[in-house]
Structure formats: C-alpha cells, structure tokens
C-alpha cells in the first residue's frame, strides 16, 4: 500500500472512468427514450421506480457503491479470493439449476427478497479472476498441453452449467476467454480452426449438403495432389487430410441435420432464430423482432430522427427495447452518424483496456484486463449483430447500456477491479 492516503482518486485511469460514465449515461438516455411518453411525470416516475430508466438510476447508484468498495479494497484481495469466488460462482450456478426462477424460457434467475439476480452474469467475473489467477501462478506453464486443458476446463465448466439453464447467449460469451488464452500463448492455429469451424457451420446451413460434399472431396483431392511429395515422405499427412475430410463430411451430412431437426440438440426456437438470421425463414411471426429492429435502425438514416423522435422505439414496435434491443434507440434517434460515434466509444474503451493490460507488470492483472476486454467485446459484437440481423436473436445485454441491474453491476465490478489492479500495477500480484 504505497498510495497516498490523502488522495482517493490517486492512480485511477481517467479515460476508462470517463468512458464508463459516458456509456452508462448514454444507456440511461436510451432507456429513457425507449420508455418515455409525452406527458409522463418524470419526477413521479423516478420516485415510484415504476419505469426501467428510473430503476436504472437506482442500479447505477448501487453500482457506484460497489465501485467505491472495490476501489477501497486491496488488490491482493482479488488474487487471494479468486478461486474462492470461482467456487462460489459455480455453487450459485448449481443452486440456480435446482431452484431457479423462469423468465422468458430460461431458468437462470435467483430471487432474493423481491430482487432477481442472474448468477450467470456474476460468474463471468469469477471465471475471469480464476483464469487470471491460474495463468499467473508459478506452477502454470501455458506452453504445456495440460495447463491449456485445465484453463479450458475452467471456462467450459460454467459454460456447460449455463447451457443447462437455457441461456445459450450468456454461455456463448464464455468463449471470449479463449481470446485471452490466445494472448497468453494458445497456438494461433486454434483461431484459424475456430474461424474455419464457423465457416463450416454457416456453409452447412446455407449450402446443400451434397454440393458441400463434392467441394470437400475436390479440395481434399487437390490438397493431396499438391502435397504428394510431402505425403510420400510422411504417410501420417495423408491420414490427417483424410481425417479432416471425413470430419467435415460427417459434420455436414450427419451432425448438422441431426442438430437442426431432432430437437435434441437445439431447441425449436433456436433453430428458427438461426434460420431467420440466415434469411431462410420468412414467417412474419418468427422474423418479427429482427424485422422491427432492422426497421428501427434502418429508418434512422444518416443523421437519425432526433432524440425522442423515433417512432419504432417510442411506439413499442421494437420488443425488449430497453434491454436486448437498446441499440435500436441509438440507431433510430441518432442514425448512422450517431451509431458510428457510439461504436467508436466502445472501440476506444476496448483499445484503452488493451493498452492498460499491456502495461501491467503482473500476469494476473494483464490476463484479467484482457478478460474484461474480451467479455465486453463479445457482448458488443453479439448484441449489435443481433439487432442488425447479422446474428440470430441471442438475448445478451449491451455492456453498461442495456437496462438491467445484474448486468450493470457485473460490468461495473469487472471494470473497477481492473482499475484497482491498474492503480496498483507497480505491485507484483500472483
């Protein structure tokens, strides 16, 4: 503890703090725009807490208290309790599986005296801390397969539990930790493989499976032809190529059709959402959300309709408009211009976090900061892609902007722990 007692804000990274406040403020304005109707009594709404924007003010207050608490905590506390918190998070996920309350088809909520709380949000924080702790420990050699598997298991365990709660969207976010692991030495080929896998899934859904089979066979034949010398030297190469071919063929011919038709792997509505995104489904009911959301954003034009002037959001055409579809308000009221500025703010935040990460002396702090950036990035990418029809409808919030106490508090804690660690970056934490 070498910070001067006199100054509370000593060591705080002002750009991050400023961007944090800016995003929360934009979020509040967007939620307000989505809900406010001419003639509403703002003061009364605020006092009676009967509007989302009014509650968001309260959540912001709570978040600030949490942030202050974190800021006053010793950095060592986080390294010391990382594993404990992880265990606690896993326990919560198990509890929620047993006694969770249902909200819109998923059982991921815990009710505590009138307040609802989503542990899956909180465990992101725990997992991030635990992963940082593991990767920074002396015993871990991340070039070894064993360490990599353990790290992957730490991420995939909560992922599995959340999948069981039917929160596919929240679960998908856990893949962001692989980005962190990539930074910490996971082979680059894995990224290539992951990217190829996404391409494979999409093409399996979009292109006829027999045509794909011909293409795969053709590509395999070409590869074998061009690598014939190498294959002559090393027979195992041939086995590998045939293995990849066989996997792709099986994936396209068997796995994808099974996953999409049996109802055992993907739920009916999930299949439909994916088909909507791919433009294969035209049922107006199934496409309603995406359609209205795209109308809202598209009708904003270049300059937007002006604050509180958006008809799509103000007249309730867009569903879930203060939570998952909050970006519609930005897109409709402020247009392309406003959207670019809004995204620019996020990019600036992400880059600043990476900058902070890279200036850390402790691996723990660096891994943790990368984790924060990755989590925010995944949320941002999936959420906005969903509102503009690039991704299927996956219910995850836009960080710091969407209405929701669990989400706002989690992101606040994520960022302020990072700020605390950064303020103490001269210390070596393990």
């Amino acid at each position: 503890m070498n910070r001067p007692q006199a100054k509370l804000t000593a060591g705080i990274d002002w750009p991050i703090f400023g961007m944090y406040l800016a995003l929360v403020f934009i979020g509040f304005m967007a939620i307000f725009a989505a809900e406010y109707r001419d003639g509403d009594n703002v003061i009364q709404n605020l006092l009676s807490q009967n509007k989302n924007w009014a509650r968001q003010v309260l959540w912001f207050g709570v978040s600030m208290v949490l942030a202050l608490g974190i800021w006053l905590t010793d950095s060592k506390f986080f390294t010391a309790t990382a594993n404990l918190l992880y265990a606690f998070g896993i326990l919560l996920l198990l509890v929620v599986l047993a006694i969770g309350t249902g909200v819109k088809g998923s059982n991921s909520w815990l009710e505590l005296g009138g307040f609802r709380f989503q542990p899956a949000e909180f465990t992101k924080l725990c997992t991030n801390l635990a992963l940082a702790k593991y990767l920074s420990s002396m015993e871990t050699d991340f070039t070894k397969m064993r360490s990599r598997l353990i790290a992957a298991a730490m991420v995939l365990f909560p992922f599995g539990l959340i999948i069981l709660q039917d929160e596919t969207g929240l679960a998908l976010v856990y893949f962001c930790f692989f980005l962190v692991m990539f930074r910490e030495g996971l082979p680059g080929i894995l990224l290539v493989i992951a990217f190829s896998a996404i391409i494979l899934v999409l093409s399996a859904l979009l292109v006829d499976k027999f045509i794909l089979l011909y293409i795969f066979t053709g590509v395999a034949a070409l590869v074998i032809y061009f690598m014939r010398r190498e294959i002559r030297r090393k027979r195992s190469r041939l086995a590998m190529i045939i293995g990849v071919w066989a996997f792709c063929a099986a994936f396209v011919m068997v796995i994808v059709p099974f996953a999409f038709t049996s109802g055992k792997v993907l739920k009916d509505y999930q299949v439909r959402r994916i088909e909507v995104m791919l433009g294969k489904e035209n049922d107006p009911k199934a496409t309603y959300n995406t359609r209205q959301s795209m109308i809202a954003i598209g009708s904003g034009g270049f300059w937007g309709k002006g604050y509180l002037k958006g008809t799509q959001t103000r007249l309730d055409f867009v569903p879930e408009q203060s939570t998952d579809f909050i970006f519609c308000t930005v897109g409709e009221d402020f247009g392309f211009f406003g959207s670019i500025l809004f995204l620019g703010l996020y990019v600036a935040l992400l880059f600043r976090i990476i900058f902070i990460a890279e200036r850390q002396r402790s691996t723990f702090s660096r891994v943790y900061a990368y984790g924060v950036a990755s989590i925010i990035f995944f949320h941002l990418a999936i959420n906005i892609s969903m509102t503009i029809g690039l991704a299927p409808v996956i219910g995850i919030p836009l960080p710091l902007v969407s209405y929701g106490g669990s989400s706002l508090m989690t992101f606040t804690m994520l960022i302020f722990i990072m700020l605390r660690l950064d303020a103490d970056r001269q210390m070596v934490l393990r």
Binding site: R37, D38, G298, G331, L343, A373, I384, I388, G389
Partner: protein, 655 residues
C-alpha cells in the same frame, strides 16, 4: 514479457476492429444505402383515420326539422382493462345474463384483440345510458361510453319519403363502377328515400386525420400536430316542400287502410304530403333494434316498405275522365259543346256497357258529362280521339293518344326525387298488339276512356295530372326538395322548369273541364269535398279491380279514389287519394282529401268536420286476414317519438 506478445495484441486488436468494421458496413447498408426502412417505419406508425361529418338535417316547408341527428351512445369494452368490476350490476343495467356478458367479452377479444376497444352494447336506449352514465366510474377503464350520432325522425312520420341509412353492403363496395369508392366497410349510406337520392349532399365531406399508432394499433396522438389533416365538412341541410302537419294528419287518417295520398303544390311541383298506408315509424330503422325491426317490417303482411304512392299502379276509374276530355279537346276532335245522346249505356261497340245515369241530356256537353260522370260520353271521346281522320288509322291514333298521356307524365316515370318510382301502364300500340294479337280497333280498349281496362297509374301520376288541369296546361316535375342550404349546384334545376303539355287547348275548353269538376263537388258524387269559402274541383272514382287468386280471376272490392285541386282559380293544392278495396270514392277518398285540403288552405279544420277526421282515423278498411297477421301497429307504437307525433296531431285537431 509483454514485448514478446506484441503481435498477439495486434491480432486481438485486429479482431476487434474487424468485427466493428463488419457491423459498421452493415449499418451503412441499413441506414444509408437502403431507403425502404424509413417507409416501413412510417407504415408501422401512421394511422389514417376518417372523420365523419354530421349528416345534413331535413326541414319541412315551415322550417321544422323532420329529420335530425341524435346522439346515442355505444358501450365500448377494452377486454384487457376489465378488472375488478361489479359484473352483476353491469349485467343488471344492460339487462343481460352473466353468460351473455362472458360471451360478449370473448367476442370483443376475438374481433379486435384484448387491447383495442370494441362495441360491447350498441346504441343504448336513453334510459340505459342514463343509468350507466351515473355509475360509469365503477366500470372504467375497461368500459367507455362512445358517442354515436344516429338519424332521428322527429315526428316518426314520412318513412317512405325520408328513407333510412344503413351500413354499406359488401356488394356495393365490390361495385366496379367506382360509385362507392369513397366508402369503407362499416360506413353508412342512404338506402331509400331522400337519404338515398341526396346522399352526396347529406353526407358532407369526410375529413382525414393522420394519427400515430403503436405496435397494437392504438392511436397515440396526432401526426406532426395535424399538419396533414383535412377537416370534415358537415352535410348540407335540405328544405322540403313537405308540410309535416299534412303528412302526420294524412298518416293518421290512413291508419288501418291500404292506399296512398299524394298532395302537390301545383304552382311549384313541391310535394306537400305523400302517404303510403300502412306506413311505419322510421325510427324503427334507426338505432338499437334496426335489424330486428327491419326483418319484422319486411315480413309483415301489409308490406309497409312498399311505397304505394309511387310504386303501386291502380286503374284510375272515373278520375281519369278529365284527362280523356282534355286529350279530345286538345286534339280538336270535339269542342266543349259536344254532347252525346246517352240513355243509360254505350252500345256502339257491339256490346252494351252500362252507364250510371240514363236521363236524357246528362251528357249534353263536356261540363255536364263531367259532372254526371257519364261513362258513354268519355268512352266515345276516346274513340273519337284515336279514330280521328287526322291520324289516318287507329294505330297512329292510339300512338298519338299514348304520346299525349306520356306528355302528361302518365305511363312513364315522372322523375321524382325519391327512388323506386314505377311507370304505370298506358296501352300503347305495342301493348295493344300484344294483348289483342295484332288485331284491334278503337272498341277493343274502349274502357280506357273511363279509366278502366289496360290502364293503370300511380297515385303520384294522378296527382300530377290534377296539377296540369289546375294550372291549365303545365306542371313542374313533382319533388320534395325545394332548396339546399349553401348549395349552388344544378341538382334542383330540373324541378324548376315548367313543363307545358296542352298548348292547343283554349282557356274556354279548360274551363269546361274544370267547371265540370267543380260541379262534381258542388252537386255530384264529391259533395263531401266541399270546404266553406273555397271553390274545390274534384272527381271521384270507384275503380274495379280484379286479381288472379288460385288461377281464377276474382272481382275484388272496388278501390275508392278521389282526385282534385283547390281553389279553382290560383290553385294551391292538388291531391290524389286512393283507399284500396274500400268501395265508393265518396266514402273514404273524398273526406280524407277534403280534410287535408281544408287543413292546408285554411290551416284549420272546422269544428263540424272533426267527427269526420275521427271517423277516418278509427275506421279500418284493410281485410281482416291482413289485419290479423299484421304487427305493424304494435311496432309503430314502440317509440317515444310517436308521442311527439301525437302532440303534433293533437295540436292539429284542437284548432
């Protein structure tokens, strides 16, 4: 350590930027390139609402409103907002059962969905409305009272004249000629009477209001503060020639009778009264029980929807004799001094047709023949007219004769301003050829000279013929509407043009016919038509009528007819009255016509004639079978407005 990982940091930054670039390019496409989304957003959010103007009011000749707009209320329900209400009490007020309540809520939910209001009970009676209004606070916000303007007939009279409005039918909407293109499903349109003819005047001009609506189609307020709205223009008012006193009095006297009254002001062609008995209270077709009442009236044995004044055609009988005389005079085949030696019958056509008189000299000239209503004289005049050497043969003669009658508005539609008018029948050459298979002469239909045979006319045509005689040779197309408030259109021009018909007839010739008609009133069959201090001209008729019942032609009881006008000089009213199957003309038709003329000309009914009015109002002439099955009287007594009619009637009778 971080130094070694710089490239990986770059890769991660690139991934971030790549994703954001993908999103930005998609946004660029959505927001800048593609323009359809703003249209889609407008289509989502804008609601075009038609504003209905109030319909025009209809006034009688003295400026009394005979048809106006009354405010009734619908009880609307928004199913989602129905919470914690005293269902039992609401059911009691509306006098419906609990099951019915549940059924209506379910219906509303099905029709308009749970969040939009739909009709729960339509056009509440004033009592129900009164009770509900007091306790409305108990049922809000689920239930609301909504104003619904309804046509109200002040005196419950003139059903056939005024007509009614009802919802436009799907077949009209499907009409490809574009006549109804301005209407939408659920709009009201004039179906009969003046409501139909003057629909475009009465309906006014609809306004359009643009509203902003939300995802459940609920209006949220005006678009751009009403910048694109057009205001509704109220319908124009009609001012009629109708005298509501005469109409109410006529309807009262036609009660229990089948037939009709048409009274016209000869100097303008404006119709003073038009009664078709039995009639109905037009309020039955406006308001809460429209469809039930419509069915009852439609099925009633007395056929109350049938406007006998313009849609029924009768043999005119002796009332036609003045016309026969006029035609003969105008053709120049006789002079007013022409006499016929009738001695109780007409034998020049190979068969003997009886006349009511046999004393010599009863047909010494036109005037006496008219006064005595000599059958032989007028049959002979008809023969002289069609056999005249001028025409060179009976075929041309008959054609000429027909064209005379057509000129007078007989055997063709006059063009009155209510729909449904029929032609009547005047035997032209085609009809004669058809009936007599090509071989006929002036004797074949000699009866038409005395108003029988192949000749049937509508009461309107008979009254109009009286106008021609009263005016001494011209008429105006009979019409109801005298003027339209704030209207410069040419719509009424045709009713302001004098139609001349008998230009060759000297005033002397007219006088002989008219004086003969006056004699009928002073000393002939229509003595009952005398009015103190007024010179009344008239002609009674007792028309034989036959009907085919079960394949056999049966002679039914004669129709009682009277036509006339008054005063003789400077005539103010021409009238035709027909009471079906009531016997002699003098028994019913004469007193009814006379009372109406007296009322119109002197604005009062003399005390000594009051008993006649009472008698007319109380006597029933319709057949017992028809009366037994008819529910028309009980239907007509359903309305409160009928008391307003009674007040007016009492006022008329008390004078």
């Amino acid at each position: 350590m971080s130094v070694f990982n710089q490239p990986r940091k770059r890769v991660i930054q690139l991934i971030f930027l790549g994703m954001v670039a993908l999103i930005v390019s998609r946004l660029f496409f959505l927001q800048v390139v593609e323009t359809k989304y703003s249209k889609l957003a407008d289509a989502n959010a804008h609601l075009r609402k038609v504003i209905y103007p109030s319909r025009g009011i209809i006034y009688d000749r003295k400026g009394r409103s005979v048809m106006r707009n009354e405010a009734l209320y619908d009880l609307m329900v928004t199913p989602r907002n129905v919470k914690n209400i005293d269902t039992a009490y609401l059911c009691e007020v509306l006098s419906i059962t609990r099951e019915e309540f549940i059924k209506r809520i379910a219906n509303a939910r099905m029709k308009e969905g749970p969040v939009r209001p739909s009709v729960f009970a339509s056009l509440l009676t004033p009592e129900t409305y009164g009770k509900l209004q007091e306790s409305m606070y108990m049922f809000q916000p689920g239930f609301e009272l909504v104003l619904r303007p309804v046509r109200s007939y002040t005196y419950g009279a003139g059903a056939h004249i005024l007509g009614y409005i009802s919802e436009i039918s799907p077949s009209m909407l499907a009409d490809s000629s574009g006549r109804f293109s301005a209407y939408q499903q659920g709009d009201y349109i004039g179906r009969t009477g003046l409501e139909n003819t003057y629909e475009s005047i009465l309906m006014g001009q609809r306004g359009i209001q643009y509203l902003v609506k939300d995802n459940l189609n609920r209006p949220q307020g005006p678009l751009e503060n009403g910048e694109f709205d057009t205001a509704a223009v109220a319908g124009k008012n009609l001012r009629l020639a109708l005298d509501i006193d005469l109409q109410v009095l006529g309807e009262a006297m036609m009660k229990g009778k089948v037939g009709s009254i048409v009274a016209i002001d000869p100097q303008t062609g404006g119709i003073l009264a038009m009664v078709s008995g039995p009639t109905f209270d037009p309020n039955l077709l406006s308001g809460s029980f429209r469809s039930q009442n419509y069915n009852k009236l439609y099925l009633d044995t007395t056929k109350p929807f049938f406007n006998r004044a313009v849609q029924a055609a009768y043999p005119p009988g002796s009332t036609f004799k003045p016309i026969t005389g006029l035609v003969a005079l105008d053709e120049g085949v006789v002079t007013p001094d022409f006499g016929f030696p009738c001695s109780g019958g007409y034998g020049l056509c190979g068969r003997y047709i009886r006349c009511t008189h046999h004393n010599p000299g009863h047909a010494a000239n036109m005037r006496t023949a008219m006064a005595n209503s000599c059958n032989s004289y007028f049959m002979h005049l008809y023969r002289l007219s069609v056999d005249s050497k001028k025409w060179g043969g009976v075929v041309n003669g008959q054609a000429k004769w027909t064209s005379y009658l057509n000129l007078m508005g007989l055997g063709r539609r006059l063009g009155i301003d209510i729909p449904g008018e029929v032609r009547g029948v005047v035997p032209d050459t085609a009809r004669m050829n058809y009936v007599y298979r090509g071989s006929w002469n002036s004797c074949s239909e000699v009866y038409v000279g005395m108003g029988q045979g192949q000749l049937i006319l509508t009461p309107l045509q008979m009254a109009n013929a009286m106008c021609i005689i009263a005016n001494r040779g011209y008429y105006y197309i009979p019409h109801f509407v005298q003027s339209i408030d704030n209207d410069n259109s040419a719509l009424l021009n045709k009713y302001k043009q004098k139609v001349s018909v008998a230009e060759h007839i000297s005033d002397e010739a007219f006088s002989s016919v008219i004086l003969g008609m006056e004699d009928v009133v002073t000393k002939g069959t229509a003595r009952g038509a005398q009015i103190e201090g007024v010179e009344v001209c008239g002609k009674t008729g007792t028309a034989e009528n036959k009907a085919r019942i079960d394949g056999k032609v049966v002679q039914l009881k004669d129709h009682s007819l009277f036509v006339g006008f008054a005063p003789r000089d400077n005539p103010k009213i021409a009238i035709a009255v027909i009471v079906e199957n009531a016997g002699f003309g003098s028994t019913y038709a004469v007193p009814i016509a006379s009372i109406l003329m007296e009322k119109y000309l002197t604005d009062t009914i003399s005390a000594k004639r009051m008993p006649i009015v009472q008698k007319m109002m109380e006597t029933t002439t319709m057949s017992k079978e028809m009366q037994a099955k008819s529910k028309i009287d009980s239907l007509n007594n359903m309305f409160i407005t009928s008391t307003e009619r009674d007040v007016l009637l009492r006022k008329i009778l008390s004078k």
